[in-house]
């Protein structure tokens, strides 16, 4: 007998207090299924005291406490591209939050974890095994993040466009299942913008940038003037990684508050037009001020559009810093999904796949250079659309879900809509972007929360026994699909 026996026609929920974990490259989200927001949103970085020999002091710190300046205190990332790179820190972080914040009863509460589509089986296997070993959850489920987003929106057939911190991904979802072969991913996301901002600020002479933690007092001035501020007394040996982490926060804030997507393409071959565009966006009405922690305010006009334009046209960016431009090699967004049969996959298949995909509207010119092509956001989506089965294309194009923090940059969805409609005249494009900003940032978690509180979903949980019995291969591909 279920608690919802009488009204199952409308309500298919069955709360079992599951835990939902959505690790992202910038923030990690944790909470109970059935909630509308995660209980904990925590930075995917951790702090550690580098005390050499003394192992006891090597305690890892998470969350808010990593923002406190300490001597010999390093800040390190846990995630990259939504994949865990530091397993020890990850498990420690999760267990810290499971035990002391969420106070989970491991015996009773299963856990649902989101994962990106580009993870390979090796990683997934390690992930699942680590979880079974470290924590004693009765059951576990790995859900693909785009699937969760589609559940959050209640659209079984959709195209999930996730503009994250490390990566921008486009994934078609059919009947709630991600199409891996048609998924695309580039790294022209939030970090790419942060790095451009850093590069831009560096190029400004006389612009002092210090982490907020250093500043004791400041007097506001406008940029070309000298900064006037006093420094705080700080513990010795502040590490470089800590300072970097603090500065990244400034770039992040800058990105959130200043950037705006221009309503048309900024690069044109026509020099006259380019000039007029330049002038148009240099108008005073488009200028915004940003105050740095040192009290200096920088006024930007055209630049803030150019920075945001790089989401659509990554090639527009020219880093002054060599190391930065190396960090972002041209990326066409193709994913290589690995499988057990990868080793003897004939070469022909790749060629064929390429030629199959090369049916986008613009024609044949583009396909010849598709290998080295750099795909901005709209090109990425158009390419994905043209690669999926023709029968699905219309319904998918009508349900494009835009999610992720970077999508909150003003005017982004409008511009995206215009570009997509222009490049896909035969399709009816419709974008769905949640209005609530915190909902859009946590969309995958919320979807996971929906999923894990459904009565029908509870038959999908995989216990440790089943995992061991059926083997990772079968579980990973047949169950966690």
């Amino acid at each position: 007998m279920s608690s919802t026996n009488n009204s199952t026609n409308v309500y298919g929920g069955d709360e079992i207090n599951a835990v939902v974990l959505d690790p992202g490259s910038y923030n990690t989200r944790l909470g109970y299924a059935g909630d509308d927001f995660p209980k904990v949103v925590v930075s995917s970085y951790y702090g550690i005291h580098e005390n050499g020999n003394n192992k006891k002091n090597n305690k890892k710190l998470f969350g808010e406490s990593i923002g406190v300046p300490r001597s010999n205190f390093d800040i390190k990332p846990i995630m990259k591209d939504s994949e865990i790179i530091d397993w020890d820190a990850a498990t420690e972080q999760y267990s810290y939050y499971f035990n002391s914040i969420l106070k989970i009863d491991f015996k009773e509460q299963p856990i649902l974890i989101t994962e990106p589509v580009w993870t390979d089986n090796k990683y997934r296997q390690k992930f699942v095994e680590t979880f079974y070993e470290t924590f004693s959850f009765p059951a576990l489920y790995l859900a693909k993040a785009p699937t969760c987003v589609s559940f959050q929106q209640g659209r079984p057939n959709c195209l999930v466009v996730d503009l994250g911190h490390d990566s921008v991904s486009v994934t078609p979802v059919i009947d709630g299942i991600c199409l891996l072969k048609n998924s695309m991913k580039t790294n022209y996301g939030g970090r790419f913008l942060d790095d451009q901002i850093k590069d831009l600020i560096k190029s400004k002479e006389n612009l002092k940038v210090e982490g907020t933690y250093k500043i004791k007092s400041k007097t506001p001035v406008i940029y070309p003037n000298e900064a006037k501020y006093e420094l705080r007394d700080l513990p010795e040996n502040i590490t470089e990684s800590f300072d970097e982490f603090q500065k990244n926060k400034i770039w992040h804030e800058f990105k959130e508050s200043v950037l705006e997507v221009p309503d048309r393409k900024l690069t044109t071959l026509n020099p006259k037009q380019a000039q007029s565009l330049k002038e148009f966006y240099s108008q005073d009405t488009y200028k915004r001020l940003f105050e740095f922690p040192t009290g200096q305010s920088l006024e930007l006009g055209r630049e803030r559009f150019e920075l945001a334009e790089s989401i659509f046209d990554p090639q527009i960016t020219k880093f002054n810093d060599e190391s930065l431009s190396k960090k972002y090699p041209p990326n066409s967004g193709e994913l290589s999904i690995k499988s057990k049969y990868d080793d003897y996959r004939p070469l022909k298949r790749i060629r064929k796949a390429e030629s199959n995909q090369s049916t986008p509207q613009p024609g044949n010119e583009e396909t010849s250079e598709s290998k080295s092509e750099v795909r901005g956001l709209s090109k990425l989506i158009t390419h994905t659309l043209s690669s999926i089965d023709i029968d699905l294309r219309a319904s998918v194009a009508h349900n494009i879900i835009v999610t992720g923090g970077v999508s909150l940059i003003p005017q982004l969805t409008e511009r995206l809509y215009n570009e997509l409609s222009n490049s896909n005249p035969g399709l009816k494009i419709r974008l769905h972007a949640v209005g609530n900003s915190s909902e859009r940032v946590n969309q995958a978690w919320i979807g996971g929360s929906v999923l894990a509180s459904l009565g029908t979903f509870h038959q999908m949980w995989v216990s440790k026994e089943e995992y061991e019995e059926a083997g990772p291969e079968r579980i990973l591909n047949q169950r966690f699909r």
Binding site: M1, S2, S3, K181, D391, Q459, N477
Partner: protein
């Protein structure tokens, strides 16, 4: 003094005998609060119980509810995979309504509530390897046959196309030759013109090839490639036919190879097994099956489907109780048709915005034509209604006087107004919604089939037909109402039937407006002096003819027949009385004269 005391005094007993005892009880129990009525008003009722029960029922039930115990909810462990054979035990906890003991008792034999939603598709089991090989052999043979058929058809098509092309080329060459000859024979000034002509013809030729190209795209597959080729050929109108033919052959050879490729990469048993497994776990969602298909062979989604379907046909066919409808639906799948269909869709999506706009404008134009045609029909019917002359029901002599002419004029004006109203109504109707304008029915009188002979109709029917025709022009609601009567009247009724239906034609008789009872009818026979009426009454009483009694001069049952008869009777009685009066007068006169003359 209460109402009860009064009753007591009057010795009237109420229903219940124990009145006073009950009264005391009542005072002790709090009177339920009345709702829906002012308290003062309620008090005025006294002990008289109101006919309607005014006690608030919801009040009572809520009190009762409070007495109920709080229903218990228990946190119960459950296993969502309980009912499944393969499911592993996972113990989860959720809250369930009911006490623990009860639930534990129930729990033993009940499956998880949501388990019924876990539905599996019924997919045929893959056969063993030997039968599989046999099946595959058959399937391959069949495919080869299909492929050959296809090739044959394609070849035929190509030959036809080539013939057409040659013909077109010849025409073009002719045109060119003509132009050349014109060049020679005519002067230089004209030369230019002819050249222009030639080029014009050429361009029209190009256009025609373009047209055929587009036809190809719509009609047949491989339109793109050949279309391009043809275009190129069209431009090089002078190109030799031989080289072309060679190119064609080469092309055909190439396609043969392509076809061979279709059949290559045979399915192994292992791969098919893999496919069936995927089909099972992804419930025949083909896009997903194709997405997860990673066997290392190069297969298109259509390949996968074809293999699965053809094998399923074989497997199902070999079963004892086979579902022929299912097999037939599986047979309907054709890989080539599917590919063609996708190609068309692809082309449809590939249209440029300009093409889409053009198509839309064409559709709009077509619609406009349709609208115009309909409008014309409407106008025509209007014209016909104008020509429709009002049917005269009376004789011409009636219109000869000046009053008759004004009557006629008024009548015509009303008809005209009605027509205009009808037109307006239709115009109003057409813009709301996308209802297509319907040409109004051609008036009955204007149509040739309308027979004007009315000899069969009675006088009444002729008159009514005229009235009804007017009614047609009024609102549709009244028209519908009138329909039943109208239908009745349109029938040719005999006199007897008319009587049976109570139909009567008043003719020139003056009627008072509104409804009157026949019993109040003023009979014409009663328009006499009161002295005369008195004597009439006397006569009637003498004759024992029943009147309504007293001064009322009506028969008891005033039907039309009795009324007319009664009227006649009255008239004849009056006439009789008058005759008697005259006779008396004459008789007295005779006696007077006789006495004067002294005859007696």
């Amino acid at each position: 003094m209460s109402a009860n005391d009064v009753l007591d005094v009057l010795n009237i007993s109420r229903d219940d005998q124990k009145g006073p005892a009950k009264k005391r009880q009542k005072t002790s129990t709090p009177v339920p609060r009345q709702t829906g009525m002012a308290r003062e008003l309620y008090n005025l009722l006294g002990p008289n119980t109101p006919p309607v029960n005014l006690t608030n029922t919801s009040n009572v039930s809520s009190k009762d509810k409070i007495k109920f115990k709080v229903s218990p909810w228990t946190r119960m462990p459950f296993n969502p995979n309980k009912g499944k054979k393969t499911g592993h035990e996972i113990i989860l906890n959720h809250w369930v309504k009911g006490s623990q003991e009860l639930l534990e008792q129930e729990d033993k034999d009940k499956p998880y509530f949501f388990e019924k939603f876990d539905v599996k598709l019924d997919i045929p089991q893959l056969v063993d390897e030997e039968t599989f090989d046999a099946y595959m052999e058959e399937i391959r043979d069949h495919q080869k046959k299909v492929l050959l058929d296809r090739k044959q058809r394609e070849k035929e098509k190509k030959v036809q196309e080539a013939r057409e092309r040659e013909r077109r080329d010849k025409e073009k060459q002719k045109a060119l030759e003509q132009a050349k000859s014109a060049e020679k024979s005519q002067e230089k000034s004209e030369e230019k013109k002819s050249e222009e002509k030639g080029s014009q013809e050429k361009s029209t030729g190009d256009k025609s090839t373009d047209k055929s190209n587009s036809d190809d795209k719509e009609g047949e597959e491989a339109g793109d490639k050949e279309g391009d080729e043809k275009e190129a050929e069209g431009e090089e109108a002078e190109a030799e036919g031989e080289a072309e033919a060679k190119a064609k052959e080469a092309e055909a050879d190439k396609e043969d190879e392509d076809d061979e490729e279709y059949l290559s990469e045979p399915w192994t048993y292992e791969e098919t097994k893999y496919l069936f497994e995927l089909c099972n776990s992804f419930e025949l969602k083909w896009p997903i099956i194709y997405d997860r298909y990673n066997y290392g062979t190069d297969r298109s989604p259509e390949d996968l489907r074809e293999q699965f379907y053809t094998l399923c046909i074989k497997i199902l066919d070999s079963q004892e109780n086979k579902n022929t409808a299912l097999i037939d639906s599986l047979r309907a799948y054709s890989k080539y048709r599917e590919l063609d269909r996708k190609q068309y869709l692809e082309n449809l999506l590939k249209r440029t915005p300009a093409e889409i706009a053009e198509e839309e404008s064409l559709v709009i134009e077509a619609r406009r034509f349709e609208m115009a045609a309909k409008k014309m029909l409407i106008e025509r019917s209007h014209l016909l209604t104008l020509l429709d002359s009002p049917q005269s029901t009376q004789q011409v002599q009636q219109y000869l006087s000046s009053q008759g002419i004004t009557n006629l004029y008024n009548h015509l004006m009303i008809l005209d107004k009605n027509q205009k109203k009808r037109q307006l109504q239709q115009q109003q109707k057409s813009p709301n919604g996308n209802q297509e304008p319907i040409p109004p029915p051609i008036p009955v009188a204007a149509s040739s089939s309308f027979k004007k002979d009315k000899s069969f109709q009675t006088h009444l029917q002729q008159y009514l037909a005229g009235v009804l025709k007017q009614n047609q022009n009024t609102t549709p609601a009244s028209r519908q109402e009138a329909n039943a009567i109208q239908q009745l009247l349109m029938k040719r009724l005999t006199q007897k039937e008319e009587e049976a239906y109570g139909l009567y034609f008043h003719g020139s008789e003056k009627l008072t407006p509104g409804v009157t009872l026949r019993s109040n009818q003023r009979l014409p026979g009663l328009q006499q002096k009161s002295s005369v009426l008195k004597s009439v009454n006397q006569v009637l009483q003498e004759l024992d003819i029943p009147t309504a009694g007293g001064t009322n001069w009506k028969p008891v049952m005033p039907t039309r027949k009795t009324m007319t008869m009664y009227d006649e009777l009255l008239k004849s009685v009056v006439a009789l009385l008058e005759l008697k009066k005259g006779k008396d007068k004459l008789e007295s006169e005779i006696t007077l004269i006789k006495s004067q003359r002294g005859l007696e």
